[in-house]
């Protein structure tokens, strides 16, 4: 028994003490898209860096960065990112790539949103027909985008049809599929989602649905233990030509998911 205990303690310690690792908090949409499965092995091969992903919503990712529990974050919510840098939690913000948000709903499209002239009009049609709409409700980048669209519309939201699930993208899509509801999703998560049961991509293409991902290293001035070197190495890799090729070539069912748009360093 004691031998077993000692063996297990060693196993625990061994699991902690590994080569160079860093922690990166990323949004669920980035991970659910499957892109991380392509990028992480390439990062390890090129830089020897083992990136440990914490897959959370943008809101929680920013909290993790503020507390110093991760070394960098990769998120998509401009206002929250700017506040993160302005408050001294992050050193700077670097744009990496973008994809776009889409409106997904039941194939029959009871609210008739597929012919809408803008995303806001599509949401107003959903509101006026009172077809169920599932909201992430988790303070994520997708949730914030959705709230800003509702704020721009004339629609009034009430709980009769508006359902906040407080869950990640995949779980929210599952809920929408079960309820026959509309939902705002990022394109990558939708394409990679396995349970499309009766759901279809109904509206996309409005420029307001543009979804920029940015990389923010956590400030070592505020949290001395942060692995700033590793975070800088990762940033250089993420903005390199290798990353560009992998990101631009990543396809699901023949569709390009992300567009690389990192600018060369301007210092």
């Amino acid at each position: 028994m004691i031998r077993l205990l000692v063996a297990m303690v060693f196993a625990c310690v061994g699991a902690v003490a590994q080569a160079e690792t860093m922690r990166l908090a990323v949004t669920t949409s980035f991970h659910n898209s499957g892109l991380s499965d392509v990028l992480l092995p390439a990062i390890e091969r090129d830089t020897g860096l083992e990136v440990q992903l914490l897959v959370v919503g943008t809101g929680q990712a920013i909290r993790l960065g503020e507390a110093g529990d991760v070394d960098a974050i990769l998120v998509h919510s401009r206002a929250a990112e700017d506040a993160f840098v302005a408050n001294g939690f992050g050193t700077h913000r670097r744009e990496i790539m973008y994809n776009d948000f889409v409106l997904v709903g039941p194939r029959e499209d009871p609210a008739g949103i597929s012919a809408s002239e803008s995303a806001v009009v599509a949401l107003e049609r959903i509101a006026s027909t009172r077809v169920p709409f599932v909201s992430r409700g988790d303070d994520s980048g997708t949730h914030k985008m959705e709230l800003s669209l509702w704020a721009a519309s004339d629609a009034s939201i009430d709980e009769g049809w508006y359902r906040e699930v407080g869950a990640g993208m995949g779980a929210a899509l599952n809920t929408a599929a079960g309820l026959g509801a509309y939902i705002l999703s990022d394109r990558a998560s939708w394409l990679n989602f396995g349970n499309k049961d009766g759901m279809e991509l109904l509206y996309s293409g409005d420029p307001v649905l543009f979804n920029q991902y940015a990389y923010l290293p956590v400030s070592a001035a505020r949290h001395a233990h942060v692995k700033a070197d590793a975070a800088a190495t990762l940033e250089d890799w993420l903005t390199s030509a290798t990353a560009q090729a992998l990101i631009d070539d990543y396809r699901i069912a023949g569709e390009q998911l992300f567009v690389f748009n990192a600018q060369p360093r301007d210092e």
Binding site: V16, T21, Q52, A67, D69
Partner: protein
């Protein structure tokens, strides 16, 4: 129904091919839960014995609190451990958040009250039988506790297995303090939650069946080793 069938097929396939990722997360599940179980038993059994043998003023209160804590919501435990271990929390310097150690700590907190409560039930009954004998032999408190623990070992095994069951199937706390990091803190339950989120129900169910199988296998193995249900051995 189709998903269930696909899940069974997937589970069978994963096990037959000894999928390396499955083996890794299964071993990590076992490592975390068994470590937590051993630590929890070392805490819970003496506490349970002490509560049976000693009479002190707050004894009833302690027992009531222990019983109540059996229903401790794992998510709350996870959150508390998370806040404590976070870099900006009191134990942040240890850098334990998002490691298997953090998951073990959370699971110990979750199962200690459960194991202690169940163990105390049976130790109390045993103490009622042994009371006069041990007192008349002038046994010290340490000897009394040791005699009780040894003679109640079968009941204690049940208590430990109950703790194992709660810990191995637990997801709320370890998801928060472990972070479900691939190759570092991903275990069976958090992998199931992840695959459900991705809408891959078949794989999620497959992992679920592996988890159930694992729990059954561990229970059977312990019963076999301990020769429970075999006349005359215990």
């Amino acid at each position: 129904m189709n998903d269930l069938w696909d899940g069974l097929v997937q589970a069978g396939w994963l096990v037959i091919t000894l999928d390396p990722e499955l083996v890794e997360i299964t071993l990590r599940s076992l490592q975390v839960t068994l470590t937590a179980l051993v630590i929890a038993c070392f805490i819970a059994f003496p506490v349970a014995a002490l509560l049976s043998v000693r009479r002190f003023r707050l004894r009833r209160l302690v027992i009531a609190v222990l019983n109540a804590l059996m229903g401790l919501p794992p998510v709350v435990v996870g959150l508390i451990v998370y806040v404590l271990l976070s870099r900006s929390g009191p134990f942040g310097v240890l850098g334990l958040l998002f490691t298997p150690t953090a998951m073990i700590i959370a699971q110990v907190i979750i199962i200690v009250p459960l194991i202690a409560s169940i163990a105390h039930q049976s130790l109390r009954d045993l103490w009622a039988q042994y009371h006069d004998l041990l007192i008349s032999m002038n046994a010290t408190q340490g000897q009394r506790i040791r005699a009780l623990l040894w003679d109640a070992r079968r009941a204690l095994l049940t208590a430990a297995l109950a703790g194992f069951g709660r810990a191995i199937g637990e997801v709320g706390a370890i998801m928060i303090v472990g972070g479900n990091i691939d190759n570092a803190t991903r275990v069976l339950t958090t992998a199931i939650a992840l695959e459900t989120g991705r809408g891959d129900f078949a794989l999620a169910l497959g992992l679920g069946f592996v988890l159930i199988g694992l729990a059954v296998a561990v229970n059977l193995a312990i019963h076999r080793l301990g020769r429970t249900e075999v006349e005359g051995r215990w």
